[in-house]
């Protein structure tokens, strides 16, 4: 880190008129040397259709996504939908809401899948498709990061992202 900063300093030390740029370049070089964190949005939003007035606790959202309950608190059917596992919000949701690491979640579903006791929620490949589906049917329950969310769906719960 210091090596790169000193290199940039040497390179720019002759360019008087570039003094301002020297500052910003060295700062960005400094920052680029820090360990990269995956870009996660500030918040995770649990979403459903606009015409679904349901109130649901985070603990129940977790149990729905773990296949332990399949009804909303009011008794209506609920169908959970997962994001693509490649999306960083998938792991984020697992950690924050389901309280499992990605490998613990895989082991959890492997136990069920290979003994015929259950299947994980359906995976929707793109966020556009997900938002489209969720907005159309109030049985669908899903989650998305605040960057990707729109207002065609109802934001049921907003979960602040804690760095953990």
């Amino acid at each position: 880190m210091i090596y790169l900063v000193s290199r940039s300093t040497l390179f720019l030390v002759d360019l008087n008129k570039m003094r301002f740029n020297y500052c910003s370049i060295s700062i960005s070089l400094l920052l680029s040397c820090l360990p990269l964190k995956p870009v996660i949005a500030e918040e995770l939003i649990v979403i459903t259709a606009k015409d679904n007035p349901v109130n649901i606790a985070i603990a129940d959202v977790a149990r729905i996504f773990l296949g332990k309950i399949n009804k909303y608190p009011g008794g209506e059917d609920v169908i959970p939908l997962n994001l693509n596992p490649a999306d960083p919000s998938y792991d984020n949701f697992a950690r924050v809401v389901l309280k499992k690491t990605p490998s613990q979640l895989r082991a959890y579903w492997a136990k069920r899948v290979f003994t015929g006791k259950g299947r994980p929620p359906k995976v929707i490949s793109t966020t556009e498709e997900l938002l489209e589906l969720v907005s159309k049917d109030k049985r669908y329950l899903s989650y998305i990061d605040s960057e990707g969310a729109n207002h065609n769906v109802r934001w049921v719960i907003v979960i602040k992202n804690n760095d953990s």
């Binding site: 690491t101 990605p102 490998s103 895989r106 899948v113 290979f114 015929g116 299947r119 994980p120």
Partner: protein, 430 residues
């Protein structure tokens, strides 16, 4: 034998084995047919999921395995690649209405990769609370029994041998019916499972083959995400074991000599076996502790009773998990045979002096000694201490390093087992 030679040998074995090829081909054809049906029918979905383990182990000495005639594990002395390695593949076709079919093929290196259809069942899911399965299923005897093939799920390189061994293979699967009812009471999730069926197979520790009828069991488990409890009771009331040639010769000899009652008492066919299981565990943040205790009673005969338990605890550090376990097995045969033999000897002793009587007494004494020796041989106490380290990759794969000390407490023997296993799972829904 080097690793390269082992790989070559096993790959050749796999591809040249008629069974494996035929089995795979049949499975794939059936599956493709079902997928074809699924694709043309919007309400059908299909999945392929699979798993595997590649493992190598080094056992420094097999004295414990040899000590009581029934091996503690499948290892021989030295380095082995063909104990833990195994692969499985599962195909499911399901309709939106909840009805589906699943088949799972398994190939174990310890069985020369002979492909076995371990699961093959119709399933119906009603309202997500009720699951009914009919066909061939693995029996949910103990906590990890029905998913014991999938190494990725549990922290150990292999499940504690004191409980999860092949000695009770006659109780590892059923062809029958299984019902699971799932419900919750506030934060507690309950699962109640009940099943009924029978099975048959070959290659069992104590005999040539086995057939069981009217097997049943009940499992109740409850958890709240932090702590769980599991209670199970299982029974195999009519287990028929085809005795090994040597054992059959012994029974024939006894019957011929006029001891048919003793022979039938000693007989290992027609058993009524009961299994009891209790398991519990806590997961608190990155810490976890689990324990399980089991008991099975074979209701007499030459097959022993076992009382076993283990405790396992560990902590996760990011992608690493370290854990430590202690497990124990106490095995014994309930000796109901010696008393009648001794009673007979007592009856005949006053008549001693007559050469025929003397010969009979000598024969009976020899028999009593033989029975006592067999009972003493089987009586054993084994303990294992295990230390393990697991690394989880970004993908669904894990690498485990494990050191295990196996003790035969009665004979004061100790063996060390080192293992490295690589586990993976794959597949998804469509």
């Amino acid at each position: 034998m080097g690793l390269i030679d082992w790989c070559k040998g096993h790959i050749l074995q796999i591809y040249s084995r008629g069974f494996l090829l035929a089995g795979l081909v049949k499975f794939l054809l059936a599956y493709m047919f079902l997928i074809g049906a699924a694709k043309s029918h919007a309400a059908l979905s299909h999945n392929i999921n699979g798993y595997g383990t590649i493992g190598v182990g080094y056992l420094n000495d097999d004295s414990v395995n040899e000590s009581d005639g029934v091996p503690h594990n499948l290892f021989d002395r030295g380095v082995q690649y063909d104990v833990d390695s195994r692969f499985g593949i599962q195909g499911t076709v399901a309709h939106d209405n909840g009805l589906g079919f699943t088949g799972q093929l398994v190939a174990l290196s310890s069985e020369d990769y002979d492909v076995d259809l371990e699961w093959s069942y119709l399933h119906f899911n009603y309202a997500n609370n009720l699951t009914i399965r009919a066909g061939r299923l693995r029996r949910p005897l103990y906590l990890h029994s029905d998913y014991r093939r999938i190494g990725y799920i549990y922290p150990w390189a292999r499940l504690p041998a004191e409980i999860y061994s092949d000695d009770i293979r006659f109780a590892s699967s059923i062809d029958g019916l299984d019902i699971i009812y799932q419900f919750n009471v506030s934060q507690w999730d309950f699962n109640a499972e009940i099943y009924y069926g029978g099975t048959s197979g070959r290659d069992i520790t104590f005999g040539e083959g086995y057939t069981t009828r009217d097997d049943y069991g009940l499992v109740l488990d409850v958890g709240n995400g932090l702590v769980f409890f599991r209670l199970g009771y299982h029974r195999s009331p009519r287990v028929e074991i085809e005795p090994l040639e040597s054992t059959q010769a012994l029974f024939d000899g006894l019957t011929f000599a006029g001891f048919s009652e003793v022979a039938s008492d000693l007989s290992i066919s027609d058993l009524d076996v009961e299994f009891y299981d209790f398991a519990t565990g806590i997961t608190y943040g990155s810490w976890f502790v689990n324990a399980e205790i089991v008991n099975y009673r074979t209701g007499g005969g030459l097959i022993p009773d076992d009382a076993s338990w283990y405790i396992n605890g560990g902590k996760r550090f990011g992608r690493f998990t370290t854990h430590i376990s202690f497990s124990e097995r106490r095995r014994r045969i309930k000796d109901t045979f010696s008393p009648p033999i001794h009673a007979q000897i007592e009856q005949l002793t006053p008549l001693a002096g007559n050469p025929v009587v003397d010969a009979t007494i000598a024969g009976l004494t020899g028999l009593a000694q033989g029975v006592k020796s067999a009972v003493d041989d089987v009586k054993s106490k084994h303990q294992s201490y295990t230390l393990g380290l697991r690394y989880d990759f970004n993908k669904p794969m894990s690498l485990k390093f494990e050191y295990q000390q196996i003790h035969d407490k009665d004979n004061k023997l100790r063996n060390d087992l080192f293992s490295v296993t690589f586990d993976f799972i794959f597949g998804g829904s469509k």
